[in-house]
Symmetry: C2
Subunit: 991 residues, 2 copies
Amino acid sequence: MATTMHVPFVLLLCLLCQLGILGFPVSQPPQESLTCGYKSCHATKPGMLNVHLVPHTHDDVGWLKTVDQYFYGDRNHIQHAGVQYILDSVVDQLLKNPDRRFIYVETAFFYRWWKQQSEDVQKTVKQLVNQGRLEFVNGGWCMSDEATTHYSAVIDQMTIGLRFLNDTFGHCGRPRVAWHIDPFGHAREHASMFAQMGYDGFFFGRLDYQDRDHRRAAREQEMLWRASESLTPPVADLFTGILPNGYNPPEGFCWDQLCDDPPIRDDPDLEDYNVDDVVIRFLKIALEQAKVYKTNHIIMTMGSDFQYENANLWYKNLDKLIRYVNQKQGDGSSVNVLYSTPSCYLQEIHRANLTWTVKEDDFFPYADAAHDLWTGYFTSRPALKRYERLSNSYLQTCNQMEVLGGPKSRKGLFGAGDSETLKKAMAVAQHHDAVSGTEKQHVANDYAKGLAKGWAHCQVLVSNALAALSGSSSPRVYCENLNISVCPLTETSNKFSVNVYNPLARPVSWPVRLPVNGTAYSVTDSDGKAVDSQVVPVSQATAALRRDRGYAANELLFQVQAPSLGYSTYSVSLLQTMPPPASPLTRAPRTIQNKFVKVTFDPDTGLLSSLSNLETQQTVRLSQNFYWYNASDGNNNDSNQMSGAYIFRPNSSTPFIISKTAKIETIQNAVVQEVRQWFSPWISQVVRLYADSRALELEWTVGPVPVGDDLGKEVITRLDTSIKSSGIFYTDSNGREVLQRRKDYRPTWNLKQSEPIAGNYYPINSRAYIKDNRDQLTVVTDRSQGGGSIQDGSLEIMLHRRLLYDDVRGVGEPLNETSDLYPEGLVVRGRLLLLLSPPAVAADTHRPLAQGVVLQPLITFTDGKLPPNTRLQFSGLQAMLPPAVHLLTLSQWDQDSVLLRLEHQYEAKESKEHSAPVTVNIQKIFSTLDVLGVSEMNLSANQWKDEMTRLDWKAESGKKPLPKTKGDPSVWEVTLKPMEIRTFLLRVRQS
Amino acid sequence: MATTMHVPFVLLLCLLCQLGILGFPVSQPPQESLTCGYKSCHATKPGMLNVHLVPHTHDDVGWLKTVDQYFYGDRNHIQHAGVQYILDSVVDQLLKNPDRRFIYVETAFFYRWWKQQSEDVQKTVKQLVNQGRLEFVNGGWCMSDEATTHYSAVIDQMTIGLRFLNDTFGHCGRPRVAWHIDPFGHAREHASMFAQMGYDGFFFGRLDYQDRDHRRAAREQEMLWRASESLTPPVADLFTGILPNGYNPPEGFCWDQLCDDPPIRDDPDLEDYNVDDVVIRFLKIALEQAKVYKTNHIIMTMGSDFQYENANLWYKNLDKLIRYVNQKQGDGSSVNVLYSTPSCYLQEIHRANLTWTVKEDDFFPYADAAHDLWTGYFTSRPALKRYERLSNSYLQTCNQMEVLGGPKSRKGLFGAGDSETLKKAMAVAQHHDAVSGTEKQHVANDYAKGLAKGWAHCQVLVSNALAALSGSSSPRVYCENLNISVCPLTETSNKFSVNVYNPLARPVSWPVRLPVNGTAYSVTDSDGKAVDSQVVPVSQATAALRRDRGYAANELLFQVQAPSLGYSTYSVSLLQTMPPPASPLTRAPRTIQNKFVKVTFDPDTGLLSSLSNLETQQTVRLSQNFYWYNASDGNNNDSNQMSGAYIFRPNSSTPFIISKTAKIETIQNAVVQEVRQWFSPWISQVVRLYADSRALELEWTVGPVPVGDDLGKEVITRLDTSIKSSGIFYTDSNGREVLQRRKDYRPTWNLKQSEPIAGNYYPINSRAYIKDNRDQLTVVTDRSQGGGSIQDGSLEIMLHRRLLYDDVRGVGEPLNETSDLYPEGLVVRGRLLLLLSPPAVAADTHRPLAQGVVLQPLITFTDGKLPPNTRLQFSGLQAMLPPAVHLLTLSQWDQDSVLLRLEHQYEAKESKEHSAPVTVNIQKIFSTLDVLGVSEMNLSANQWKDEMTRLDWKAESGKKPLPKTKGDPSVWEVTLKPMEIRTFLLRVRQS
């Protein structure tokens, strides 16, 4: 790609090339001389069954040990695993025999290793890569989880991993194959993203056991995944293959130091010569495997978790296996074994020129046995899941600030800041044992620590950037515990200002709640205009969570407005002589409402009883309460599976109710109306309606979940409505497109349902809804959670889990979170935002609402009075973007260029108003940046868009994909179609 | 050595050189250019504490897995260990950094590996050896056990290991250091042999915990071992060092894949940077260790059992350790760390030029804690121990036959035979978990299988040789179960001949017992003279052991005479018409006697009551019976140590008596008198006196030891006499020199005795005795056994052990032997030979008697009548050797030369008659070989004797060793001083 790269647009790209952006090093040999990729594959034998042996290691970016412990091979008593040695060893062994192949996957590890190598080793490795002997597959920073990740974070983590490979190895470092061998179920949005990142195929290991059986019988383990309902095929088409044995070698053929299978003993002078036995066993397995695949090629994954630390064991025996099995061809054997890679295997599958069945749904939920549903991790570690989501918001802000603030943001008034640290921490957190919640406690702590370190680096950057943009050098104060009303500055200061930065490309209105000890404040906006504010007493529930970190008696509430991609500044001053705020009323109101929404309460129980949209004049019955499933402890006739970090298995389908009634306090004022509900000492909720909000907020607080009764508990909230949902509900996929879910049903096979609750749970990344012809109730979440619709009209969401048993999937710990601050068990707080709408227009509200939750404003503080010339308001945009367009990425790429991703945030059919193509002029987006050049990239930004040529696959349906539409009419005018994300590299100059 | 080798004698050695004997390959670079050995050591720093890091692996030649399983890394579920990978990996890693060093020890493994390497790899390895980067230490086929091995087998196994190294690597392959890091106690005879093999020093790891404490306090962990009371110093002086930590790395510094210590994490960008912590911990350990050694050099063994399978882990961290610890020198640290080897360490110790305390006893027994005496393995697996000893006899016969029979012995009438297979099997069997009995059952079976395979190869060779020597092509039949009266040929044949080959250099008389079904036979000797024979009924005890393998009713007894190093042939014919033999009498006689010996029995108990030597007119009271100690099951206040394969720990010092009386049968005839005693269903004995024997034979049969009572049993026989032994008894060391043992006493420290029985047990290899001024009772054993003298006048020998618990020293099995034939428990049969003599002349009898037990005649059969011209008698000697001279080795070395070892078999002071130098003319020994040339070698035959220059060490006593006496007066006249073994390479021609 480097040397043959032509300039897709007429602009300044030659300059970009010279600057070495995208890291295609000039020292690369000409592409023709490289034999990597498909060209480097070993020849196969047409008339034979060709067995592709793929040596590989699966290196979790944290799980039982932290990522750095895995890298160094520290704490081997927990798990024997040391990635530094794996890479050392594999490189040595590849050099011993040019036939050998290896694939490497996790760039987070490879990057650490590469940094420590001598130039000589680096040169050797480059040669191995250029010859296709070492091949990168997948190549993201990690192998992301698919159920609990948000698409924006996945794109980011893939981008930094692939960028490192591109910068380091150029063309030959670009992975051709996506490789998700371990994630616990597979999201359609992931497949869509992989397609748009230019992958030619995708392989994974885990799918529902019934699905697998069905596909084996039907020889449908390889298929074409059509991964978007909006994008025009083949944009989101991805050839997808299911590996034959998870990602493990066939039984009896594991030669790693972690295995005990018999080595090939081929010295006839020694005891136990076993070559004949090995060959016979291998041929049998190969021929059996060939029966459940379509072509005369099969793949065998020769490796597993953290294998190849001593690669000699594997290769020495694989060399012998290949020699002795192929020797049998002289005796008429029709099996041909070879070293291979997933892309070499894929190439042969592609050459077979067959048609493939089309898959249009996803691979959730994942069950590996009748009672073993991996639907618990959709919710496991809810606090970590929220922290990860919040960190994503913070990272996007940090990235934007780095661009808007210019070079001074990285090195400025407050020192050296960077977005790198948080980028990497966020990338690590996408790992399928990170945000998934399936890691050991100490590892979860390490992920959080990494994110916190990233925040700290970003805080310096943001402080620098705000100083540059505002002209004020006042120190910025960050309060990360506003959700529990802790902020030392606001608790003690009589005068301070509040900066609200909005990372969205359109203005937002946002409620601010600040812990204070005064009873009344004057609040003014950027224009000096007074803003309505209220002081209310801190709730008991919140006070209990602070654990001596804060002492505010009250909360100061006001609504702020922040411009597109910019900030506004509010000044707050204590008013000295006011009386304390009124105590809340201790009974539920019949109704709370604003101009958009009305909710009613049952006066007997204190529970919600209805929800109305006042604009559309629709009302549904809505009761909501909290329940817990009793987690199976394994003592069960059907199965001894316990609930654990991965698995959700209630021992009864009927959850226990926490309380039929709630104790109530009510606060109603001009800014907010809230009904505080206590269900038990460990569950409370605030039903809250801000004055200008279309969404009803349910702020839940759950924990410490009591386990003194020796019962593990999986806590849900359930919304029971009058909506006639007919066994159907909807969940999003990685925060983007929405999939329909039907109770006790899977679209591609006849489901035998054996877990009526867990088997109907699906991941909810950002939203779920139920609907009938009239009403759609959408719940927007603030993190990934599991949920289901077990009864018609009902939607339940699992909020928190506390379990007493390990579920025997390797983590080796019960999910029983405690911390120093909460030794009695973790308390988790979060929000559900409820929208009631007619189905046809629901997306018009839930799309922007959900983006606002994902990218929430960053609030910073300065103490005292701001200097006179401070710029109190700023927007980085010339104008807000059209409502359908989301600014997904704005991030500094190198000194002179930035990465921009624009996204059409509506699906093709979900909005009359917004589901139409929309055009943006890139040159006219930014207010402070002159865009000098633009070049479009693939989604992961490791290839020019117009050089992205993927293998084409024939669908069984026979529909030929439409011919690609030609480029945009203008260089600057960019048209986005529904659900399209377009990625650009811009050359910019601060104007 | 190859190219600078000069000819020590004036004969035909130039021819020998040209023939490449001793395998000093001509392609070797000149010695001057080699920097191996002491020249290759890294520089040290004089003013500093120099820490010698010695990377090493300890590769048991069988233990939990068989030697081949260890080699290949098979059965890793038992123990993760694969030697092929260790050597692969170490070679790779040595190449990465020329500073790195490695030592390798066990040639049995190295040889297997070497055979499988490409020429390229072999060339690379030679270079590493020539540069001293890979150094062989010890270098025998295995690391022999010291308690239960016979010196002749140890010399053999060292010879084949060192020969392979010499043949392959020449000069640089010769180990300078003996290295017995794991054996469980140390024999003085081993030290003596090592000294005579040219080693400059010796290191080991295990010694009594009290001894260690004492030596640490006194800084006497390094010493000069004066290992012979007969040989003139410094012939048997050996510098001996005790390693600081067994053979393990210091705590916290094990970086093997089998360890979990934290790696050095030196990337400050990653979490858990720990360089400072590592350096501080290391310096502390080094400085502590230096306090208990004398010089400013200390050694650290960086490795352990089967480590370095992935050598990168070790070396990567050791490289860093050296770098970071030595960096501290800049900050004033006085510790200098370096890669080193035992010989490099030894060189520095030698340069220190200190005087060293002299050690004159041995290091038995070994206790690693107060109640943990490793004295059980002296007896563990008595059947294997006997089979090993018998195999040694067989191997010596096979070796001799190969020389005497000429080339036709290897390829002859009966096919291809060899002595190689049995040589290697015997060498393997010397391993410290082989004949020691401390291996797992399946491994013990494998050792026996290996020996049996060796026997089979030798049988072909012996058949060929006997055919060549006798001129008869009649097939030879071998009966290996004569000890239980099984031999299909003699059981069924009416006419057969018996060939008796005597491997000793003097004639023997030997009783033959053959299973037969006839009642009378005519037996004639080689001259056709009738030989007195008797037929007696097979005892019930023997019949019970056969398990359907034989059906003889009777045994045919006659005494045979066999010439020196030769055979005689007896013809046997059934006499048809005789009545069946008389049934035995069922009472004990008062007395049985021949012309030398008289024994009396107690008529009430049936037990022995006295023993008399009729020649010397001396009599002692002698009662003998069988007892068992109740093996500790670990439930004990003092300690929870159990008896097991290694450990002997009776739970009471008083053994249980089997029976106070014996049931008796008596047989008395002209050939033999025997009293058959039954003590219980599982213990019987035959007290036997052959007509021309000076020794009383006690043939014991023990087993299956019953454990239905859940009590482990350690079965002893005890001889209680009137000898006033005053707390002292004597045991031999590896079958050679005898050491005095005093009850509850150790010569070099004040013993705190905590195990009154086990702490007074010592290894008996071939004999033990008690004595007073008048009487010496010597017991010659047929295998290695443990024994002690707990009461004055008493001598007990442990015969068999059956235990129900593992003793937690790694083997992981209780010593509870069963087999297919003996599923209820192994039955073991053996002999004790008793001699009563005046102490001053006792050796005159027990020395030749014991040699006769070690090298017993080989009896072979041919069916029918022999062809007319068969040579019925043969001797390979011109005349028998003088009584003091033992022909230790006669073995084909290569096509034209043979290895000869002559041994003076008396100690300096033990025999008035024989303890004098004796001279032999080598040219006049053999009757069928012309000796064309002779060159003397060191004991292990890997160096010319006159090139063997060892480092000299100063003893604290200040006695300077005598100057070496110059060579012999004549080339052919060889003088042997007491206990001297001289080793020669002879160029010979069959005459």
